[in-house]
Subunit: 452 residues, 4 copies
């Protein structure tokens, strides 16, 4: 009997990776699918309904049904699956990036809620990775443990208002020492999760040593408790009209915020190092979730176009125009995107994120665009309902649209992949030279006058 | 000296139509541009700020700055420009569809606000056309005059919940006679403008004669005052998170709504005729506004990518990657879309909407997609700011996305254009036959044995 | 009764330009269509059959049926229509670029043969323009007159082997004075028309003053009789498998070729000026022919997909898959491309080629790609027959593919259009500044605190 | 040390399949790469030069250098690698489809020549599969053995002139019994390989039982020696001007061709069964070769855009416009296409071609189009040289273009994949139903009134 994952991916893509899965991973994956179907998916509408529409209250709410599901998930061991023991021996679970990647795709069928229920939500995931890798004992005890337990949440404050943030060196927030205290002044925005009442700590990136000769040693990362005086949440930013309450994406001013020296992470001037380490696997998880979002949208489209109540002019929707062709293309695009992400995840497992930058970059610029296309087709099949609050499609589209911007816009990844590809040229030139030498020998042997 | 329109279109596209503009139209266009720049554009942010965030109040507000501007616009004669005297001799202004089309494009630089200020907003425009063409004297006096004066607003209630609405024959709302009254029962949604406190009348389309042999004579349109008992506004629908208050797109239940017999428009069973007549020019105006939206987005992009404050890695944004290429493509796409819409508008002026269905259909499926692409590029150039409430781009994108669905989804127009094109086949076959006959003569003359 | 052109373009695009056509142009256009249908199209297969398959003879043949048709065309006044009197008062015909552009589109339905029969083939057209504009009396008498009479043909030798030719300054062919003679040494290729037995003169571009400070004054153009000693035709180049005999695209070595000083065109060091002037209208004519090629391919596709002999699984081809959608898109793409080229041609008529560089550039990178797409769809509808010698589609595709390279590759035009568009920024910035000032006034008036 | 395949594919795609390769396959792959680089690639130009230009002789030539290389390849065991022992236990080699697929990709770097040298050319491969699977002992002895030895070549005669061949039931060639003889009459074209002087046998598909109730039992396949009286080769068909001599794609008339009854393959009326079995793996090998062709084109592009001799305006080609972006996209497209084909090949290995129809269909419509796009970019980077006989790009493009037509046009595969995807609907509907039931329980538990 085949693994239930084939209902979420396909027999052929599962065949590509099945032999790379441990027995534990296969079992966990099956458990996760069962939990998703029986617990999470049926609770999605409840969760939406439990967010107040009141513009103030919606930012003060812990959604009850999600809180309950978190307890259940923790109990059955579907918890912190993102943290790979291979990279985080002390806190991690025995799953590879590839194994967790497949799970992340499945979880995406429940939107944001899937990862959250299993304590696998961004930006907490990246922050836990930072604290697990770079945090000292005290920092881990105070912040990492409650994060790993799902008791608190966190934010990563990097993006700045009015700054071209795809070049991280442009950061202007000031971080300076004053006696035993670190003083922070800056204006950030798009700080995800900072609106959540459970958000207790911000990891703030700023310029601590602007005069340093190395542009990559001018930054530091500091832990700032969310209730520190001077931390002012200005407003939630909207994404195509959505505020994503209660988590939100906040504009924040840090005005003379003071924290003890011990809140510095890793070391003075090592902020760049931290963000570099933070990005690889997370990007792949975003990509896998994008694949899952696309697959989920295609599933909705399939049901819509075969719905007898949606016939027009006596025919099913799928019997009109280019619908079948759109389905086939969507299927092919999802399948190939999934395989791309699998291979990037496998590469991370083999040679760490640093060695997999080309594969990560490819996935990063290919997959969200693919998912946007597929979801857009699904929206079109639903007509006006597709752009509305009655289907999850529009919200998902908006959320995915930000992925083409966040963690480096498409253009940056495209350029980097292209530049890396250019590095193959010397080998190609060498091979061409060797071939031409052999060619000359043959020209002489066969007495042929080459034209070129 | 060239006309100011060339700053909004281009010298070459203006050259294509300049000689088709009357002196009055040219003058009005210049006046409109001045009014747009001096009055409307500077008031956009004010208008947004004057919409309350309170979820109840935002539906009870008449935006003050817009109300003031409407008075000013009426005074200077920039009023009801959409209503072409050629088609509406009694109420119309002496402008052709082509002439107004160019104005509609310019007005779109101010988003929804441009047309509203000049009393040229959908759905009022289409409703005024219906009343001007089909309304009797009493109906015109009661509803058309205050609409033409901008004193009230209106809604057109056609789309139904749970119904495949791209086939208008599917409509289920019941309209029946009971003595001297018409009784209406139905469940509609996406009724634009019905949320507005000034909306005083709904034109409701329903099934009045379900047993009629002709599927096109089963429908009627009835005028329903918005405050008639039984008219229940259920909720505003959202478009990608936007509720578009105060106008909104409402879900409405009509429950035993009773109006006098005299509220029937045109005649019993003539609803289809009414909606057919309603659609042509309006679609072109939507298309022209889409072109304007795209042009406006490109203007924003151009300023962003040359902003010295946005340099990364020492270079302007436009010096990176594919930005210049994206600009060139956007320019070309806008230009060709504009010319397509010009030619469709001209065709309507020449042979009425009925004779211009192919041109209208082409514009309808080409132009909104083009505009979405250009705006998406502009969004990308702004990074996260582009998807937020701080730029008009995301809201415009969402609004335009609905145009690929409203008034017939893309697929329907594509099929119809394709089918119309197939009608050219008999002429082509005839010409081919004639050519082959002449060919045979030549084959004999030159003594050549044809292979085919 | 409508003009016969609407069978080749469309009513709506004709409506856009009809009032810009002189009575003479309208009449000539009708005559040209009649001649095309009755004389040229039926002779196409004969012409192909009259090219010998023998690899030597095919380069020594003057195709009899074309020679006959040229005489007929000249007799009825369908001759040299490309040469606009407005720009060439002495030799030209009273047609604008727009008027001739429409004719060029129609002629393209007969492929290469259409223009050739009316003495409107490249590269002769460009060469006649050069001689008419820059040639002295003697040059005009010796070369221009027989060219205008269709007695000889010509070549323009610019592209060089092994040189990045999209940067014309890279040219290496040496042109130097030795006493009263000019001596030419160089290695060219892709010299179109040089294979033709009637080709009597080459206009050779070379470097005459490599030390000149201005990179744009280092080149000269010299007239070289085709039979001058030292002119060696190396081989015909192929375009995807086609050699385009008898005209061909030749690789040529100029080895110590000596011509009298009087063969210099315009002046020493003025070669750049000559090629600049040569390019504008010719590019638009290429574009119009591309539109015609696309229209002609769509006509073939329409007949194929409605052919009862081509039914599969009981249905016409057009009833399968995405065929109707492909037709609709093709129609829309052709229509918008045509309007783009019309507007570029009109712009040339208004402000000369120099003032229309943006419009020419847009047409140049948009239209051939559009035509390739449409023809590719037609090929697909014909199956294997579509790629073969039994349909003109594959040959047309190959020919059009070169247009994305010749006269500047797409990338160059895209960059130039983008850069020109960036020149609009200062005006936009100024307008934005003015708007913001008015905005501030309103903010104060309405007592609103702007967020931005 | 990494396997040399990573220079032809990538580390990450190799990682996906390395553990699925047997030691024998890995070793064979390494040997094949060495042979390709040292023997085949340097001989490509020789092989081209050894095809006579004479229109008659070019069809009578056995290319000497290829004949020599075939002997070498056979000697070192690089022979018949396409024939998988798992499917053909008697004649096959111990390689899976996945393993051979990777080799097919590499071989494609030498175009047609790679497979030919190793006796892995279509249509011989498919014909050998047919004979190995369905041929009786005598047929295998007479035809299969010399084919396996590379002594003769063969053709598969299915496509018919004037027939919509994507519906195989349309076939009209008549096959009937007359005593002990089978008599064949029909008009075929596009019979690949039939021009080759070594082609000794045609497998002819025709209608043997037109009255049979089952449309799938009306056809038979018969072995026809190429020199049988009545076999008339009419002419070679061209593909974008290429005749692909000496193999060619021939138009053939079978006129009263008589062969003994024993030449029937498998059984009377079993022709459909034969062609069904013939198509699966072959399609995947075509796809892998397409990936290889794309990779090879990208390698050429990379060398061209970094060639210092190709600088324009002082910059390398790759520093202009969208070149780096095109490279990145090409890389991503190749990578994802490769993974798609891997997964289809693996699926064939797991559940035979019949179980892998969706995966095969996806690869079939995705991969050739991808390769055409990448090769087109490479052509553009080479300018006019790219479309000429001096680079292999144009010929490759033309060859690949036919893959979108052969073995079922794109549209057929797209429809079939879409239809197969629709079969997932019942499971999706069931899952949705289950979810909604659980949802209702939760709605009651939390006392929420569902809107939908």
């Amino acid at each position: 009997m085949s693994h239930p994952i084939v209902n979420y991916t396909s027999e052929s893509s599962w065949a590509m990776v099945e032999d790379k899965f441990s027995p534990y991973a296969k079992e966990t994956l099956a458990k996760l699918i069962k939990f998703l179907e029986e617990e999470i998916l049926p609770a999605q509408k409840i969760a939406h309904a439990q967010i107040p529409t009141d513009p103030v209250l919606r930012w003060k709410t812990i959604i009850p049904v999600i809180a309950e599901l978190k307890e259940k998930a923790k109990k059955v061991g579907l918890w912190n699956l993102f943290l790979s023991k291979a990279h985080y021996p002390k806190h991690g679970v025995p799953l590879t990036n590839l194994e967790y990647g497949v799970m992340a795709e499945v979880l995406a069928h429940a939107g944001h809620m899937g990862p959250e229920v299993m304590n696998c939500s961004a930006p907490d995931t990246g922050n836990m990775e930072v604290l697990a890798r770079y945090g000292n004992d005290e920092q881990q005890k105070r912040w990492l443990e409650p994060l790993l337990n799902g008791e608190i949440r966190s934010a990563f404050a990097m993006t700045e208002k009015g700054v071209a943030s795809s070049d991280a060196k442009n950061i202007r927030t000031s971080i300076r020492l004053e006696g035993d205290e670190i003083v922070i002044n800056g204006h950030k925005w798009w700080i995800s999760g900072a609106g959540d009442p459970r958000c207790k700590v911000h990891l703030v990136m700023g310029k601590s040593d602007p005069a340093n000769k190395s542009a990559y040693e001018q930054q530091s990362v500091v832990l700032v408790p969310a209730d520190t005086p001077g931390v002012k949440i200005v407003r939630p930013m909207q994404v195509f009209g959505y505020d994503d309450a209660p988590e939100g994406h906040c504009e924040i001013i840090y005005e003379n915020v003071r924290v003890p020296k011990g809140n510095l992470v890793l070391g003075w001037g090592r902020g760049f190092e931290i963000i570099q380490g933070r990005l690889g696997p997370g990007r792949i998880h975003h990509c896998m979730r994008s694949v899952g979002a696309a697959q989920s949208a295609l599933n909705l489209l399939l049901q819509r176009v075969t719905d007898p109540g949606r016939k027009t002019f006596g025919k099913f929707l799928y019997e009109h125009g280019t619908v079948v062709s759109d389905i086939a293309k969507s299927r092919a695009e999802i399948e190939s995107a999934r395989l791309l992400v699998y291979s990037a995840a496998l590469q991370i497992d083999k040679v760490k994120a640093k060695g997999a930058l080309k594969e990560i970059g490819i996935a990063k610029f290919v997959v969200p665009s693919m998912a946007l296309t597929v979801i857009d087709r699904a929206i079109q099949s639903f007509g006006a309902e597709g752009v509305s609050q009655d289907q999850e499609l529009a919200m998902r589209w908006a959320n995915l649209r930000t992925l083409r911007i966040a963690d480096g816009p498409d253009a940056v990844h495209i350029q980097q992949v292209g530049q890396r590809e250019l590095k193959r040229v010397p080998l190609l030139v060498q091979k061409t030279k060797e071939r031409k030498e052999r060619e000359q020998v043959l020209f002489r042997k066969y007495n042929i006058k080459a034209h070129l």
